[in-house]
Symmetry: C2
């Protein structure tokens, strides 16, 4: 390595960018699929960042002091892989294993790779993840590490980008710098704004960002812009880079109809030959600046104090969640809270008031809340993000990508089901179990009483992986003692005898309805088993199987959730091989406003409805 | 009614607005819940629109020539109801039935009411719906009817608002006028921008809208602004109205902690007494201008010509969908297409090329695509919106609200499951059946071959209500003849005999795997029944029950979908009472990139895996 005159740098970066282009073209041609032209537009941006701007340990991408890089336009994955290979993390020969089952160099980046913080490929998510990372570095770890993100111009239409933009401005994330790779062409059409950089600039400035327009293939301009971003305080910076899709591939450059298409081997060889001609051999070896090491206090995690509810209390599970979260904050310094302007309904305000430095208000931006949570999780924090369960549907794509990333986020959805009452169907979470349990590896919890909710909050924090807790609006009685033990995958048998005629599986508010039905049925001489299925996924197969054996292989499930994808289906699935007979009770149509108890009865999940159904079934 | 001097109008509107405030306060106090302060900030805006600006038939809110009004901040529902009552649609006394089970004046507006085009209450959706309505009026019906929407300032953080803003500008929707009710206070905190109208203005102008800042309680300014909006061509207009939450309620005006709280009866009486003092009796009777009647051509709908596939063709179901949609456009003038920049992958480009005037490109804005589709459906069109199934997760909240609205939209999700191959998990739709089937009243279709896909497109159009079709990426063989008949709720038995040992239920690509397994099993002397479950919801219970009886009450389901909430659960649920034994085969973990066939086998849904599982089961 020789000492470098500063005016040599742009040319050396040009060479490195072309090397990244060569890798991207070669790998996608070998794979027979991929997006080489989307790599080529961003190659100069990425080369500049990796080889002159970012401070990171190329041998240890998990070093928490590294500057972070997120490729929001995930379809340019081969470019990202090439950059890490060229930085020295792995042998560039491995790049040719792109998109094969045996290599983690997948079609779009996933955190199976140590240098990927969050899976990208569903567009418009990278900026929110970076908001989470930048929040962590600025407010929690208080490091000087910077966060960089490359967005596509096409993805700038995604609303989530503007949620992230707004929140980044609000938190004055001057440690965050984005680049929009404005290559003018989407998948199926030119973008709406094409190369109209002025309009992009007006938008980002309207959202309070510092903006810099550059020629995105000009390394000197890029270097200057990144330097300016670093000098900018109190505001995040967005660099608007005019680029050409397919830059470096003469026949594809700025041409439509080249999205997501690899070059054929002959085309690839031709282009690579030309690009190689201007590359000196051996290539210049860049010296990547290592990050500053920041001393992090070891987090001493203490157990959560026992809940203090009295047996006669009436407490909503959402409130117990909030109470536990606030207590957990005191014993677990990694716990962070995120809200989307309903903290006084989810009771995360209890945590927020006690730990304002670890609580991030996202206003009404559920997508950003979940994306930022994933960013915080990528920094080793344990983020709890809560809103109404129905509004988590707004962030389902982010939840899906977090599941793909096996992100350690904790979600709470409150106000589930018809038991919320008067606000009506738009505010009732009735599909949250279906959507959360569908994702592999996500634990889905649904406590019925405050003791269980409180205890499970600690369990959520200690569990490695995504956990969802569903909570209810109404105040409900206390069922369990303060020393009761709850596990992910567990359940509680609340009533059982040697002569149970069937088993009722309930959770949340329907547990109390089932218990009332039990008493009514006892009077009528009918005995049933009752299970509180507080863990919907994973599910307690053994207890359900015992119940099947003990109680005529017969079940009723009753839930304040739509009929598909909820508790009924989870129980059926757990016992699918056992030939049980099961009757699902749940919400079978779009509900109406009304009083909670009235609605439980009207939609057939009240004690009365349960007792009636049991009577019908035991007569058969 | 007396003739009105124009300078009297603001004072008369002030009176009407206070009357709306009185109704809103009285109704929420009676209900014991609701958002009176959110009504009060917007009362002057709504009064001005309803009684001086909009041309509509107050006795016939479904008149298609009416100017349309959407209350995006749906929690101000009592204000909307009061406006329609005061306009003469129903007796204002009914307003006191707010939020009861017996009245359709629900907590948030739903289309159970004839004057609601789409349910609101999940914030940030109204503008997209209005984009759909305005597209219809400008480009399809070509009427002069205008579309008005009132948004909250809090909801302006929702990214979907900016998607809609971008698309409205792109289509030059000068027939669309919004008002942001900037009342400074969210639910749990002041909004980020509070009364900073300049920043709101910079944002909306950055997104290409004409903007006007007004004092939102000044009727003269509002009247002038709406007039200016009407005169503005080629651009939509956003009026940024500075208001005060709780305006007219002295102790609540501009005070935090009054969100979503009714006044107690004494407070209400006090406020109403004061407000009433400045209302003359009898109230002035406004004359609402009726809309111009536009002659609409009667739509003559012809049957779809039969598909033209040869028995030896290999055709992807997504392509057959696209082909059928293009053919359908020729025989059904109500059919409209919407895309989110993947039209060359979903093949909606076939429709788009043939009917460019009925095809709306939403670029990468899935939320707006679904919201606009719902708006078009509210105008009597039959909108087909298509993207990758995984990206419909982005619009799940819009889909949820469309389901609540029983909207007549048709969704297609392509590229489902691991069979897409190399692009990896971020591009694989693996939870779409769970999320779509969870919604009551949504038909969920999953054709395996091109004939079935083609035929079902016509069925989708003719069915009243939301329908979702799931399609696959790979080319697959033709299974059915051109005259085969498919119905919502149907299935096809592909193999059966008197000695079937069990039934395999498959759909999409796994049908072909099951058929291959069938041949292998025949060789081994094992005979199975095979069902193509092309309609997942509703499901063909009768055929499944027959199969249960005929084939040992034993089933295998095999699907290119995650295990929860898909075909396996749908079959289990259909047969829940029958004591069947069922083995679910599906994707049980986050998949990896790879070749399609390799992935089918790796994740255990290939012919080999099926045959192996059958052999295990029949040995037991």
């Amino acid at each position: 390595m020789t000492t470098l005159a500063s005016d040599q740098l742009p040319e050396l970066l040009r060479q490195k960018a072309d090397q990244l282009r060569i890798h991207s073209i070669r790998a996608t041609t070998k794979a027979g699929s991929g997006h080489p032209t989307s790599c080529c537009s961003a190659a100069d941006i990425v080369a500049t960042l990796f080889f002159s701007i970012m401070r990171f340990d190329p041998k240890n991408p998990r070093n928490p002091d590294n500057d972070r890089f997120v490729l929001s336009k995930g379809h340019a994955a081969p470019l990202l892989y090439a950059a890490w290979a060229e930085a020295g993390l792995f042998d560039p020969k491995q790049l040719l294993e792109l998109r094969t089952l045996d290599s983690d160099l997948e079609g779009h980046p996933t955190p199976r790779l140590p240098f990927v913080d969050m899976a990208t490929g569903s567009l418009g998510q990278g900026l929110s993840v970076c908001v989470g990372i930048a929040l962590n570095n600025k407010y929690l770890d208080k490091t000087s590490a910077r966060t960089y993100v490359v967005l596509g111009d096409g993805e700038s239409v995604e609303g989530s980008v503007w949620e992230a933009a707004d929140i980044a401005r609000h938190f004055q994330l001057d440690n965050l710098c984005g680049v929009v790779d404005i290559n003018r062409l989407g998948q199926s059409d030119p973008t709406m704004l094409e190369h109209n950089l002025t309009t992009y600039q007006a938008r980002w400035e309207g959202f309070g960002w510092h903006t810099i327009c550059v020629e995105g293939h000009n390394h000197a301009e890029l270097l200057k812009a990144f330097a300016e971003a670093t000098q900018t305080s109190t505001k995040p910076t967005m660099i608007l880079a005019k680029t050409f899709k397919g830059k470096g591939i003469p026949f594809a450059e700025d041409h439509p109809n080249w999205h997501g298409k690899p070059l054929n081997p002959q085309q690839a060889e031709e282009v690579i030959t030309v690009l190689s001609q201007s590359l000196p051999s051996p290539a210049y070896t860049f010296s990547i600046a290592l990050p500053k090491t920041v001393q992090r206090a070891k987090s001493a995690i203490q157990p959560l104090p026992a809940p203090k509810y009295e047996a006669t209390d009436m407490v909503a599970t959402r409130e117990a969640f909030g109470e536990a979260l606030a207590q957990l904050g005191a014993v677990n310094p990694l716990v962070v809270g995120l809200d989307a302007d309903v903290k006084n309904s989810t009771y995360t305000d209890k945590f927020g008031k006690r730990f304002p430095d670890r609580f991030f208000e996202n206003f009404i931006a559920e997508q950003n809340m979940v994306g930022a949570a994933a960013g915080l999780a990528a920094c080793g924090k344990i983020p709890f993000a809560a809103t109404f369960a129905c509004f988590l549907t707004r962030a389902y794509d982010f939840i899906r990508m977090a599941a793909i990333s096996q992100s350690n986020i904790k979600l709470m959805g409150s106000h589930v089901g018809v038991s919320i009452g008067e606000d009506g169907p738009s505010q009732m979470g009735l599909e949250d179990l279906a959507m959360m349990a569908a994702q592999p590896g996500v634990a889905v919890l649904y406590p019925s009483d405050a003791m269980c909710a409180y205890r499970l909050v600690e369990t959520m924090a200690n569990h490695k992986g995504m956990v969802y807790m569903r909570t209810s609006r109404p105040k409900t009685p206390i069922l369990y003692g303060a020393e009761e033990f709850f596990t992910i995958g567990g359940s509680k048998v609340l009533r059982q005898s040697a002569k149970d005629q069937l088993t009722i599986v309930a959770a949340g508010v329907t547990v109390f309805e089932a218990l009332k039905a039990y008493d009514q049925l006892q009077t009528a001489g009918i005995t049933v088993r009752i299970i509180d299925l507080y863990s919907v996924a994973p599910i307690d197969v053994a207890t359900l199987q015992q119940a099947a054996k003990a109680a005529n292989n017969r079940f009723i499930t009753v839930e304040d959730h739509y009929l598909h994808g909820g508790i009924g289906d989870a129980v059926l699935s757990a016992l699918a091989g056992d030939g049980v007979r099961l009757t699902k009770m749940g919400i079978h149509q779009i509900p109406h406003s009304g009083k909670p108890d009235q609605l439980l009865d009207h939609y057939g999940i009240s004690a009365r409805a349960i007792a009636e159904k049991v009577k019908q079934l035991v007569q058969v």
